[in-house]
């Protein structure tokens, strides 16, 4: 009797959740498909035939998007336009290298804190990271601009990437948990073989947490790829693709809509492919735990 009730309850749960999630999924997928379909039309076709398939497919919208979607910038040698190709380069550098710098810094610090806890400094370091997660110290955008201008990294993508290697943030805790779960006996065996602390870290410990590293790298990479505010606030002369789309739209709202939608597809596609390849590594593999410290 009890079992029947439980089974009935489970059936209701499954039916309701599948129905609700299907509707929600459709609400997400349909606009995306509409955008891809519209990106293959010309403006008139889009206006007259909003939902239908393109009367004449225009793949050239995608090629034109690379050159036509551009953003004006002011440099010391005058003003010029940055097209989507250059924006892709900026984004790949900013998101790819910047993410590597910041995640590797967190990884290294988390390793030192997790495995060399016998030193008081490491325990203090751990507490600092946790306190900074809970207590929000003021980081005024105005001060960021003023200070970064002073040290010469404002409006300088390479400089900003260079100083981005801070260790704070929740990702530190993921790395910390990952290193904590690895037995130190591996390291002791390696020390017997004559391995140095560096060899133990790079050849023994780092390979064991590469799934965590990859997942965190991808998470940060995705958010850096999608970030339009860095170009808007700190490096206006190095527009990334998300900012380029924003700026182009705000300056040329009346321009070809299919062209802008083609730009949207081009910007979303690389990150979507990356996600589809690595989604199993991303979802369900991370655990932050609490903030006890």
């Amino acid at each position: 009797m009890v079992n029947n009730k439980v089974r009935e309850n489970r059936t209701v749960f499954v039916a309701v959740s599948v129905t609700v999630l299907t509707i929600y999924s459709l609400l997400l997928i349909v606009p995306l498909l509409w955008a891809v379909n519209s990106a293959l039309k010309n403006s008139l076709d889009l206006y007259e035939n909003v939902f239908g398939l393109p009367t004449k497919i225009k793949p050239e919208n995608f090629l034109q998007a690379f050159t036509k979607i551009s953003v004006p910038i002011n440099t010391v040698s005058g003003s010029r336009s940055v097209n989507l190709i250059e924006m892709f380069y900026n984004t790949i550098f900013y998101a790819g290298v910047g993410t590597l710098v910041v995640e590797f810094s967190r990884c290294v610090c988390a390793y030192c804190v997790a495995k060399y806890r016998k030193y008081k400094a490491m325990r203090i370091f751990h507490s600092i990271v946790i306190v900074l997660l809970v207590v929000q110290l003021p980081v005024a955008l105005a001060s960021q601009i003023r200070w970064f201008t002073k040290i010469g990294v404002y409006n300088n993508m390479y400089g900003l990437v260079l100083i981005s290697g801070t260790f704070t943030g929740a990702h530190f805790l993921y790395f910390y948990a990952a290193f904590k779960s690895i037995s130190w006996e591996y390291a002791e065996a390696a020390f017997m073989d004559g391995a140095s602390n560096f060899a133990v870290f790079f050849y023994i410990m780092l390979p064991q947490i590469k799934a965590t590293f990859l997942a965190l790298y991808l998470l940060t990479f995705i958010s850096a790829w999608n970030d339009y505010s860095s170009s808007l606030t700190l490096m206006p002369n190095y527009p990334v693709v998300a900012y380029g789309l924003y700026k182009y739209n705000s300056l040329n709202a009346a321009s070809s809509v299919p062209l802008q939608l083609a730009g949207c597809v081009l910007i979303a596609l690389p990150i979507l492919i990356l996600f589809l390849i690595f989604k199993d590594k991303l979802i369900g593999n991370l655990n932050i735990g609490g903030l006890k410290g």
Binding site: V108, Y116, P138, A140, I151, L232, G284
Partner: protein
């Protein structure tokens, strides 16, 4: 999918082989040095020195970045909050409490700020009491492996993958082109009666899958024996969620709650992406206001000290609340036992 797994397997093997190769080389070099009598016995103190040296070398760069990117910015925020701007010489100077005083005055007496606070508050309430529970529920469905959960997992995460600006443009143009077919020429986004609600719905539409990674990760670590015990006790799905899952992932859920006041004061809509610096006053949130006085055509260097003072006030108000909330949540929270 199998190809991807195979590729990952190949990458894994290559990575492991490279790592083994270098490790074997370092061991080989060490053995040769031992054979030649070049390696001295390491005393405990020399091992400690090596460890300290290792820690110093490895952490020097992150600490330097932390100082440049965080400590000095926080320090400058404090400094800037107490300075005035000299329009003539275009420099910040002096020491004044006027900025902090003005922030408090604006917060409690300026009618516009009442509106900003109200908007921020509504957004925070929605994200904490509607969005978060629904996110947990969705993650629970995925965790329970309902039919097509793999498909849902991918689709629900799409809003986090695809740039916000892409969604904004798709939304904008679907409102321009597709909506008139259903709603006539009525534009919800441009109507002051509906624009706030429309933007809230837009934001919520994209954010239900936001907690998927964290929550499914936490749920995936629930001890299967606990679930078995629940089954034997005759738990239905809701009892499993309430008595097993929620207490186990409590640590994860409580993290965003600890910073609730900061979240309340900084809750925002994608106003800048939709309207740039020209959003209607009635839509403003505190964070949008603070952003637009520093960036865009409405910004002014004269207002930089005021914006820094605002950040300090937010920190002053939010930090004790965060610490108290953390202590409270730890005290009242369920034990995993």
């Amino acid at each position: 999918m199998k190809d991807i797994e195979r590729n990952n397997g190949i990458f894994h093997n290559i990575g492991a082989k490279i790592s083994d190769f270098f490790y074997a080389i370092s061991v080989g070099i060490h053995l040769r040095r031992v054979k030649n009598g070049k390696v001295k016995h390491k005393s405990i103190s020399s091992q400690s020195k090596r460890e300290v040296l290792f820690i110093c070398i490895m952490m020097a760069y992150p600490i330097l970045c932390f100082i440049l990117n965080y400590v000095f910015v926080v320090g400058d925020s404090f400094l800037l909050a107490f300075q005035k701007y000299d329009n003539l010489n275009q420099r910040y100077y002096g020491f004044t409490f006027n900025n902090i005083g003005k922030v408090f005055k604006d917060l409690f007496t300026e009618p516009n700020f009442g509106g900003y606070l109200k908007n921020s508050g509504i957004l925070w309430l929605i994200s904490t009491f509607i969005n978060m529970p629904l996110s947990i529920l969705i993650s629970f469905c995925i965790y329970k492996k309902i039919p097509f959960s793999g498909f849902f997992k991918t689709v629900l995460f799409l809003p986090q993958i695809i740039p916000g600006m892409v969604w904004v443009l798709i939304y904008k143009y679907s409102v321009d082109y597709a909506w008139p077919i259903f709603f006539g020429d009525f534009n919800f986004l441009m109507n002051p009666k509906y624009d706030f609600l429309t933007l809230v719905l837009f934001q919520q539409w994209l954010s239900f899958g936001g907690g998927l990674i964290i929550y499914t990760g936490a749920m995936g670590r629930i001890d299967p024996s606990l679930v078995e015990v629940g089954k034997l006790e005759g738990f239905n799905v809701w009892q499993e969620l309430w008595y097993l899952v929620l207490p186990t992932i409590y640590g994860t859920i409580s993290v965003p709650l600890t910073t609730c006041l900061t979240a309340l004061l900084t809750a925002s809509l994608p106003l800048f992406m939709f309207f740039g610096e020209y959003a209607r006053e009635g839509l403003h949130t505190i964070s949008y206001y603070l952003f637009t006085i520093v960036i865009g055509n409405n910004s002014s260097k004269e207002l930089f000290p005021y914006s820094a003072a605002f950040c300090i006030v937010i920190s002053l108000l939010a930090s004790p609340v965060a610490l108290m909330t953390k202590a409270f949540l730890e005290k009242v929270g369920p034990s995993e036992d």
